[in-house]
Symmetry: C2
Subunit: 259 residues, 2 copies
DNA sequence: CGGGCAATTGAAATACATCAAGGCGTGTGG
DNA sequence: CCACACGCCTTGATGTATTTCAATTGCCCG
């Protein structure tokens, strides 16, 4: 059990199991903060039963499913929710008035769109579905209160904060100081180790990201991303077909990533 | 009183008034978080006397002065302090193994190096003095406790957090999607409005930043920064002499900043 | 079968980096 | 007081990574 969905294809992601059918675990969201603090109704019953703190209040929330490429949250949208991805891939981005876009991070199941949502009603970031996405939106003040009741509250927030900040800094460094091939190599390796931490396969995995989205994440153009990925493939570093990416030569990728 | 030090030159910054001579306010740190929560010994006595919450405990801290270009904190330095700039200019940066550097932000008097320090013992950022800097280092856990006692704790942290994150996102957008002249124009305008918020002059102000440091902040080379600044000067957008910058044509700068 | 989006590939343009040389100001040691 | 070195700024010539433009292909879906 808790087997990762290796064979899950883009466009046909695992259906969200409704709360009533209690007991079936989605592997995609096992690291979710809402589950960690026993606040997600999708898992609340089963998990709270075995938990010592039976006073955990369930937090009002709604679930929605978005098809690929659909907007989940607008850049300037102000609302008192904390959005958490349950399954699928989403992209968090900001844009200039001229429509130039920067994808700040890709979100996977269990990711809070940004820790910022715990404190502020607007993050200034847009969220868009990359593959099909299910997303749960919690009431912010209730979620915040539940989190504050949780032991180790400060540590949880601090860690998440630090991680988010660290990623942002690294992105800055990438964008300003690293050549395109290094950025792409690093992106692939980071994704791989991120999947490892969630217990998924690290050598071969689904890769629903469009070249344009990748370009927006790495500060490049889609054309240039394409050229470099082609080079990677003909050099035998990676394989990529039918939205599944395989790392063939991790060592060489790491060398590229170093600089 | 509270007059801003217009005539303050690089290398001869206003001296820090020792706590014993109580009552003389440094304009440079008037927005400081430590003063806001009545925890800075430099201002503790005078301000706490007039404050309702007389139970605010003073937080252990040390002050240090750093000459220009001196390292204040190393990138991987782990210590249980929250460093706050009292006066002068500092730069917060991260680097790759190959010595490529990205200045994440410039810090002015009253700035916490990063909100991250409230929660974690290491930010992954190095801090370096740009001009002469006085810096106070508070004990982290005590500072944190004092902050938690303060009414509106959540709001304060949330706001600071959101602001820091917003700046990081904008920097990402700059680095990835905006041309060099736009980045520089934006930097100047941002600095100006930042000084405005602290009650300083916005049209003409001290500018101790070296071109290399500016280049590191904007993802460019010093040579290129120089060329564009020269262009700005000959186009009558700005004047820059003896480390003092004057905005001559704000409108044109804004046009450049737009894209 | 056609229409549209994504990926691919090549040719041309360009924004920026790199390299190199010289000037200016400032501190330092003779 | 001068000579000199050193850091910083400046400017021009050259190189290159990446963008822009454009045309083609394949593919999915109605």
């Amino acid at each position: 059990m808790l087997e990762t969905p290796q064979n899950q294809q883009l466009g046909t992601p695992q259906k969200l199991v409704p709360a009533e059918s209690e007991g079936v675990f989605l592997p995609s969201c096992s690291g979710c903060l809402a589950r960690q603090i026993s606040v997600c109704p999708g898992y609340g019953v089963r998990e709270r039963r075995s938990s010592k703190s039976s006073d955990a209040a369930e937090v009002r929330s709604t679930t929605q499913t978005f098809p690929s490429r659909r907007q989940i949250l607008h850049q300037r949208e102000v609302s008192d929710i904390v959005p958490i991805i349950c399954s699928g891939w989403a992209a968090s981005s900001i844009s200039t008035q001229n429509g130039k876009r920067q994808v700040v991070s890709f979100l996977l199941g269990g990711d809070v769109a940004s820790i910022n949502y715990l404190f502020e009603p607007c993050s200034g970031r847009a969220i868009e579905a990359v593959s099909q996405v299910t997303c749960r939106k919690f009431g912010r003040s209730e979620f915040q209160a539940a989190l504050a009741r949780h032991p180790g509250f400060g540590a949880i927030v601090g860690k998440a904060l630090a991680a988010e900040r660290e990623r942002g800094d690294q992105l800055n460094l990438d964008l300003s100081r690293r050549p395109a091939d290094s950025r792409i190599a690093r992106f692939i390796l980071n994704l791989s180790s991120r999947l490892e931490r969630r217990g998924s396969a690290t050598k071969s995995f689904d890769f629903p990201i469009r070249q344009q989205q990748l370009a927006d994440a790495l500060g490049l153009t889609a054309v240039h991303v394409c050229k470099i990925m082609s080079r990677f493939r003909s050099a035998g570093l990676i394989a990529l077909e039918s939205r599944r990416l395989t790392i063939l030569d991790r060592k060489s990728l790491q060398d590229l990533a170093e600089q």
